[in-house]
């Protein structure tokens, strides 16, 4: 590995309305190195990557490619310069052949626009063989596995002589064997002198593959370190370590009977051997890094995903694994993380969103009773301090915090016994955050069992009575009372990541 930088990013700043996604970011990629880019969701990794690939234009700062200042206006320009982005969602045309996909947009033709299929096939075959791909240029891409499709994208690096290749979470949908093949390919590229940016949440991959690591947090670079000189605990600390900014109010009550007990719950490829219980009046925090399997686990309890094994005991009685409808009828509520996709009908007003899942409760012989709907709407608007001009203001025009409150109002209407909140304060303003924290305490005070998933250390420490730590699909620690500290949580999560065998 030489120390000669092929791509230097200095002082890059990028703001979106209301958010500074990248703040004075500087780092460099050298010839023949694999450079990891890590950080929590929202740390700015994908924005940085999109700036490099020409999908976003930075507001300030400079990019030097082979020592020359460049301005990358489009993905096409980036490719022509030799900067190639391997998308997480593959950007291929399934109906076209492998060869056509490798050279998409740059097919050899004669003056009349007739394709030179022989040249296309020959060049594509050379690119595939350089990477040792086990399939030919004539295969239709739609018939290839995800791993093979990824190889088609990587083969573009050979076809366009790329000297910077950016991988965005490339192993997200690969099996272990496919992952090993991918790593071999990445090392092959490194051997060719290509500078590689490797974005991943998976600590073991980063330590197996990369030469240096740059950590991003809240849009700023926390530091660049040599992989051999550090360990996963240090990196985790750089990623998530922040000071406690606020104290949260916790209801001081005695817990009631068990609302839900989970025994040996498992879903192949996602998580396994999950057992825990949550009691009336208790806020149970579920902490872990992105990809730990927390969302998948609660979705399985709620019946969105079908468990492969495990038992649920609901209020003392074993129940069959429910469908979402049955889970709602039992008294469970799941407030999902992606409220726009799963939680709200954005074009409707707040009132309609609130009463949507329970319309029959507000209707007399199928005719809606607007008065009763208004009462409920007013009650939650006051209780949650929702800022809206009225019941019919489309929720798409509200702030993220107020949208999230309507999602909560919608589920609270059903009067659940257990409410599961998945990242309830992601992407919302500080004021709304504390309102939601207070609401969590109040719900527990009323005797509900609450499960809060959060990647934010202060939040999970602040609102929970008890915390479960999760990593790589397993529960790796349980903390209560004085044991609930930042240190303990980081240790639990990162030790596990450093020794994935020691399960």
């Amino acid at each position: 590995m030489s120390t000669d930088p092929i791509l230097t990013v200095s002082g890059i700043t990028k703001t979106f309305p209301g958010v500074t996604a990248l703040d004075n970011v500087s780092f460099d990629i050298r010839r023949g190195e694999v450079h990891a880019l890590v950080g929590e969701n929202g740390a700015g990794k994908s924005t940085l990557m999109k700036v490099l690939a020409g999908l976003h234009q930075p507001d300030g700062g400079q990019i030097l490619h082979r020592g020359q200042p460049v301005s990358v206006q489009s993905p096409l320009e980036a490719r022509q310069m030799g900067i190639l982005l391997i998308h997480q969602e593959l950007s291929l045309s399934p109906e076209l052949s492998v060869a056509e996909n490798i050279y998409l947009g740059a097919w050899p033709t004669n003056a009349l626009g007739v394709l030179n299929k022989r040249k296309l096939r020959r060049d594509a075959r050379a690119a595939l063989e350089a990477l040792g791909c086990g399939f030919g240029p004539d295969r239709r891409v739609g018939t290839l596995s995800v791993a093979m499709q990824q190889m088609v994208e990587i083969a573009r690096s050979q076809a366009f002589s790329a000297d910077v290749v950016i991988f965005d979470e490339p192993t997200a949908s690969l099996t272990d064997t496919e992952k090993d093949q991918l790593f071999a390919t990445i090392r092959e590229l490194r051997g060719q002198g290509v500078g590689i940016v490797y974005i991943s949440h998976k600590m073991d991959e980063i330590f197996e593959l990369t030469d240096r690591i740059t950590v991003l947090r809240d849009g700023t670079v926390q530091g660049t370190v040599t992989t051999a000189d550090t360990d996963s605990t240090a990196i985790t600390r750089m990623m998530i370590g922040r000071t406690l900014e606020a104290y949260f109010h916790k209801a001081e009550i005695a817990f009631g009977a068990e609302t839900l007990r989970v025994e040996g719950l498992g879903l192949d490829g996602q998580f396994d051997d999950v057992s825990f219980a949550v009691r009336q009046g208790e806020v149970l925090g579920l902490y872990g890094l992105v990809g730990a399997g927390r969302s998948e686990m609660v979705e399985t309890i709620f019946g969105v995903r079908r468990a492969d094994r495990g038992r649920l005991i609901w209020q003392g009685r074993e129940i069959p694994l429910p469908t979402p409808r049955q889970a709602i009828d039992l008294g469970m509520a799941l407030v999902p993380e992606s409220r726009k996709e799963q939680g709200l009908v954005l074009m409707m007003g707040g009132l309609d969103n609130t009463t949507l899942p329970h319309l029959s409760s507000y209707a007399t012989a199928t005719v809606m009773d607007r008065g009763r709907e208004m009462q409920v709407f007013d009650r939650y608007r006051k209780a949650l301090a929702i800022k809206t001009t009225g019941p019919d203001q489309p929720v798409s025009t509200l702030s993220g915090g107020n949208q999230q409150k309507f999602v909560l109002a919608k589920w609270l209407c059903a009067d659940p016994r257990l409410i599961i909140l998945d990242e309830p304060t992601r992407g919302i303003d500080v004021g709304s955050k504390s309102a939601i924290h207070e609401l969590i305490a109040e719900l527990a005070g009323r005797g509900l069992a609450v499960i809060v998933i959060s990647s934010e250390m202060p939040e999970v420490l602040g609102v929970s009575h008890r915390i479960l730590a999760m990593a790589e699909g397993r529960l790796v620690g349980e903390f209560e009372g004085d044991a609930m500290t930042e240190e303990n949580l980081i240790d639990a999560v990162s030790h596990h990541l450093a020794n994935p065998a020691a399960q």
Binding site: S74, P75, L76, R79, E89, S91, L92, S93, P94, E95, L96, E100, L104, G105, A106, W107, T109, L112, G113, V114, L115, K117, G142, T143, L144, S145, V146, S173
Partner: protein, 324 residues
């Protein structure tokens, strides 16, 4: 999970694969067999020649529609363009001569197609809306030009061209097949053809690769309009008249034929082999049902049911391919 699962079964041979993608031909063979057995008049040279000629008009429209649909768009104005081209080709003959009139008819179709394509590509409006406007507006133009009455040819030699036959196959049918082969070649062997698939299949990927999406859309709409004009001119030759209502709801039959063939409405997938199969199936069905003296409204019901059945089979078969 977003992972696509690949069927790792033994790869089927090339003919099997072709049939799986072009299963409309199996369907066509079936309908063919049924009508051969149930009507003594069906399986005669004369009748089959007729089927081909009847198929050719929707067929030529369907070629253009296939290009536009693979591109991920739709053109509802083809029936109206056909009527306009046929009216101009006949109406102008007395003023500027037969072949110049035919040329004007042809160019009117190409120009309207170009206009459709430009509006779609540059405005970002959905082609369904743009060409729906075209359907209504162009039909209005036809009525203004013809004044609600059918235009008649005065030079009857004009109507003799379609009477050129090669065995039972009329010139009209031959033109249809020649055009279909030509554009199948365009689709498989030219940059424009392949990029048409790329745009319809994954717009973002095509855009990121620097493919000029607007240009391809404009070209395909222009081709579609020009082909509709050719169908209109051939129809005017066959009938010797140009009715203002010619080609009404033909855009729907055209879409049905293309979709029946297996070309995907969302774009990115299809071929003219499929479209020829769809066009012929539709023509055989209509012809066979008429030979059996099926009342018109029953015919419509059967056709509707067949369309849905064919698409259900398509769904079933495509599950055997990669899950998409």
């Amino acid at each position: 999970m977003s992972v696509r699962t690949v069927v790792r079964a033994k790869a089927p041979g090339a003919p099997t694969r072709w049939l799986m993608r072009n299963h409309i031909w199996v369907f066509l063979a079936l309908t063919f067999a049924v009508f051969s057995l149930s009507s003594p008049y069906f399986l005669t040279m004369n009748n089959l020649g007729n089927v081909l000629t009847q198929a050719a008009f929707i067929g030529i429209l369907a070629i253009g529609m296939t290009l536009v649909m693979i591109n991920g768009e739709i053109d509802l104005s083809v029936g109206a363009v056909l009527a306009l081209a046929s009216a101009l080709a006949i109406g102008l003959q007395d003023h500027i001569g037969v072949w110049p009139a035919v040329m004007v008819g042809f160019l009117s179709g190409a120009a309207l197609g170009f206009l459709n394509g430009t509006l779609v590509a540059l405005s970002g409006m959905h082609s369904f809306i743009v060409t729906l406007g075209g359907l209504i507006g162009i039909r209005g133009l036809v009525f203004i030009y013809t004044g609600e009455d059918a235009l008649m040819v005065t030079d009857f030699s004009y109507t003799e061209y379609p009477e050129i036959y090669l065995g039972p196959v009329s010139l009209t049918a031959m033109i249809f097949f020649a055009l279909a082969l030509l554009f199948q070649w365009v689709l498989t062997s030219t940059r424009h053809g392949r990029e048409t698939y790329a745009v319809g299949d994954n717009l973002q990927a095509a855009h990121d690769a620097g493919i000029n999406i607007k240009r391809h859309k404009i070209i395909n709409f222009t081709l579609c309009g020009a082909l509709a004009a050719i169908a209109g001119i051939l129809l005017s030759m066959r009938l010797g008249t140009a009715e203002p209502n010619a080609g009404k709801v033909w855009e729907l039959w055209t879409i049905i034929a293309v979709v029946l063939g297996g070309t995907r409405l969302q774009g990115g997938y299809g071929s003219l082999w499929m479209t020829i199969g769809g066009v012929l199936t539709l023509a055989v069905l209509r012809n066979g049902l008429r030979l059996l003296n099926t009342p018109n409204y029953v015919e419509l019901m059967v056709m509707g049911a067949v369309l849905i059945l064919a698409l259900a089979i398509d769904k079933l078969l495509s599950r055997h391919e990669v899950g998409r």
